[in-house]
């Protein structure tokens, strides 16, 4: 283990141990010649050290001076005084050798102990370099672009792709890239409608992933990206895995959504996918509607939001609220079948193509046909048109937030006011109270 030349004592023991072994080999040769036992072996075990082993075939050739130690099925083991003398020398040398080697190794470990902080620092630097190299390699391999980071509020992605899905596509199929633009004042919220399976969720996720990758310091899967720094990312995407805990899907969905609305910031990015899906249509539309309004009208936090829904009724919102824009993930209907184009286009969409999806999923034909029939009937009864009209008449959100909710100062003022008992207040006290309140407002 330890190199030659570190300690002369160590080298000496090593030489002795080796020499001893050479000597044993000599001894073996000598005994073979003297006794004529060609299969004579010298071996070692823990119980009685070095011994001579003779097969039964040669047993009668063993000299009388040898001392028998053990009988095996086909051999016998002997020792001789000469062997034992040498054994002692060898074992002693080896013992000392091991002890010294351990000592030197321990010293080495101790010395290395002085380098803990340096090596830890090196590890951090190597880790950093390795990570950055990894970013560079991945960017090159997957044709990512360098994002432009800025302190403003706009988020602009051209030809954005989903970094994971684009790698999973079958050979020959290309990921359809999409553009996304969001800011505080012109396009704060995008409502994306479109049928299931058209790629709404992927679009939402890829937008968040591109932003996060950029802020990790990585290049991003897009042809161009200009990213105003985001400080919080919230997602309500897809089914949660809490179902096994016995909470209902809808409860989980609402809990998660509530947590989003209560923690917003001005530079948040919010992704919501199919909010309100877990309940009845009217409930769902109503809740989704008021959530979008809340995000749009929030006095302090203009969270950039992508809102995917299959309730195309929500498209009505854009008529009233200026910072909301409608987009749809396009599909083409060809001879009663649909083609997913996976391209985001301005404007709302009219159908949810649910029946086509049912067909794609292998639903029995009779069920699909019957569903189409029922839908035709429902549409003819103008149920949907009526809904739309009714929604357009929904009273505008009375979004004057309660004065006192806005600001902690106001809350303090409220507290003071509530404490005052007007009936017992003298005019002077009233004046002083007013002064106190005014000071609270700074």
């Amino acid at each position: 283990m330890i190199q030659d030349g570190v300690d002369p004592e160590l080298d000496e023991y090593r030489r002795l141990a080796h020499q001893g072994k050479d000597y044993l080999l000599d001894l073996q040769q000598r005994e073979i010649q003297e006794t004529g036992i060609s299969s004579l072996k010298i071996a070692y075990n823990k119980v009685f050290g070095y011994y001579l082993e003779v097969t039964h075939a040669h047993k009668d050739k063993v000299p009388e001076t040898w001392i028998r130690k053990q009988t095996l099925v086909n051999a016998e083991r002997y020792i001789t005084p000469e062997l034992k003398t040498y054994e002692e020398k060898i074992l002693h040398a080896e013992e000392r050798l091991i002890a010294l080697e351990q000592k030197y190794f321990q010293l080495l470990v101790q010395e290395a102990g002085d380098y803990v902080v340096q090596v830890q620092e090196n590890a951090r630097l190597i880790g950093t370099l390795d990570s950055l190299l990894s970013f560079a390699r991945v960017a090159q391999k997957n044709q990512y672009c360098r994002p432009k980071i800025h302190e403003g509020d706009s988020l602009e992605i051209k030809d954005g792709r989903h970094p994971v899905i684009e790698k999973q596509l079958p050979v020959g199929e290309e990921y359809i890239p999409n553009d996304v633009y969001l800011d505080h004042d012109t396009q704060q919220i995008i409502i994306i409608t479109g049928p299931n399976m058209a790629g709404k969720s992927a679009l939402l996720r890829q937008t968040a992933l591109i932003v996060l990758m950029a802020q990790m310091g990585s290049f991003v899967p897009a042809s161009y990206a200009r990213i105003g720094l985001i400080d919080k990312v919230f997602t309500r995407v897809g089914a949660s895995d809490n179902l096994s805990r016995g909470e209902s899907t809808f409860m989980v969905e609402m809990t998660e959504t509530a947590s989003i609305l209560n923690n917003l910031s001005n530079n948040s990015l919010v992704l919501m996918d199919e909010i309100g899906r877990g309940t009845s249509t009217y409930d769902g539309i109503s809740i989704a509607w008021s959530i979008v309004e809340h995000l749009h009208n929030h006095p302090q936090h203009k969270a950039k939001t992508l809102f995917a829904t299959h309730y195309h009724e929500l498209n009505e919102l854009a008529k009233e609220l200026p910072k909301i824009k409608n987009f749809n993930v396009s599909v083409k209907e060809v001879e009663g079948k649909i083609l997913f184009m996976r391209k985001l286009k301005p404007g709302g969409s009219e159908h949810s193509f649910g029946i086509h999806v049912a067909q794609l999923a292998g639903m029995p034909n009779a069920v699909v046909l019957r569903a189409a029939e029922i839908m035709n009937q429902l549409e003819r009864s103008k149920g949907l048109e009526e809904n739309k009209e009714r929604l357009a008449q929904v009273p505008k959100a009375n979004y004057q937030l309660n004065l006192f909710e806005l600001d902690p100062k106001f809350q303090e003022v409220e507290r003071l006011l509530r404490q005052v008992d007007v009936n017992t207040l003298s005019p002077l006290e009233a004046l002083l109270k007013l002064h106190e309140i005014k000071q609270k407002l700074g």
Partner: protein, 424 residues
Amino acid sequence: MAKGKADKETPLMKQYNAIKAKHPGALLLFRVGDFYETFGEDAIIASKVLDIVLTKRANGAASHIELAGFPHHALDNYLPKLVRAGNRVAICDQLEDPKSVKGIVKRGVTELVTPGLSFNDNVLDKRKNNYLAAVQLGSTAGVAFLDLSTGEFTCAEGSWDYVEKLLQSFQPAEILYSKAHKQTLPGSLKEHSVTFALEDWVFQRDYTYEKLIRHFQTSSLKGFGIEGLVQGTTAAGAILHYLEETEHRETSHISTISRIAAEKYVWLDKFTIRNLELVAPQQEGGIPLISILDETVTPMGSRMLKRWMVLPLKDGALIEQRLEVVAHLIEEAETAEALEQHLKHIGDMERLISKVAVGRINPREMNQLRKSLEYSLPIKELLGNSPQPALKKLADQLHTCQYLLDKIKTELKEDAPMLTHQAE
């Protein structure tokens, strides 16, 4: 005659029971001669997890007790399996040379291995940090994380939401909390597969503070910027207490503690980390983003990248600095290629040096450390010649550790064995 002995324990079992009682909740590996034995319930678990034979031994005259054991040299094989199955394992060794004592040998627990506390390469995934977390509940919650294998030690405090989010990001292998909160434990903690409740007095401000300043040999925690984090430091101190309790006494590689500076990083709520599948897939067979982005070649890189992924930056200047280097490395493909060639040879120097600090490194690993240091040298040189300021700075910061390097080279043979007690 037999009757009198029937309910009397053998001296060995008496010793066993005494030690077992000191480590409740731990599976006890009891060294008897060349074997590690398990008894009773432990034996049933061990025989199942390890697929070893469960036998019975007549203990005293009448009582029978389950027994399962394995040869001591197989410990490295079997221990990780037990730990990975979620067990806390106490290793009880013979503290005296049996040859030199009459009667029963003195025995004691020399190490308590838990999922969150391990040095064993077979338990640890080198591409992942193995965190032990401690949580201090309250109106402000505190949390601390320690990777014993690398010495990384951090703490934080804030709302329970925030702490929960950190737990989601760091994915600790084991979480400690106070027994006082056993009844009111939040759901996400209850669901965590490996948690351990410490006595509630451990989570006392004075006690834990004292533990921390004694460990770091400072007079306060101001230098670490965590003096004001009452709950966070309490959690951190509880971790140090736990190290002692589990017989981890060599901890000099835990050389610093820092605050997790949440305000520097993008806030990702816990749903988001999961929904976006940043580091772990939501469904089995899914592909998380990290498996696309991680092309690192060293364990340190892999762990660092993972941290970057759950902690994206908010500071534009810092982001630009990383982007600048990435752009440079793409442009200078040759340099990048050369760097990678050297990096490939660098082993897990972070965990190796931790093993040095706790005195558990073997000669073969010492050579791996040497190799890692050796291959850092050309990297330092390449980066030193780089026109890129951040890379140049990195080069300046890299230590050559020349003295140590030379020392290992001149003293240790290159083909040194794993064990120190083998003759050549």
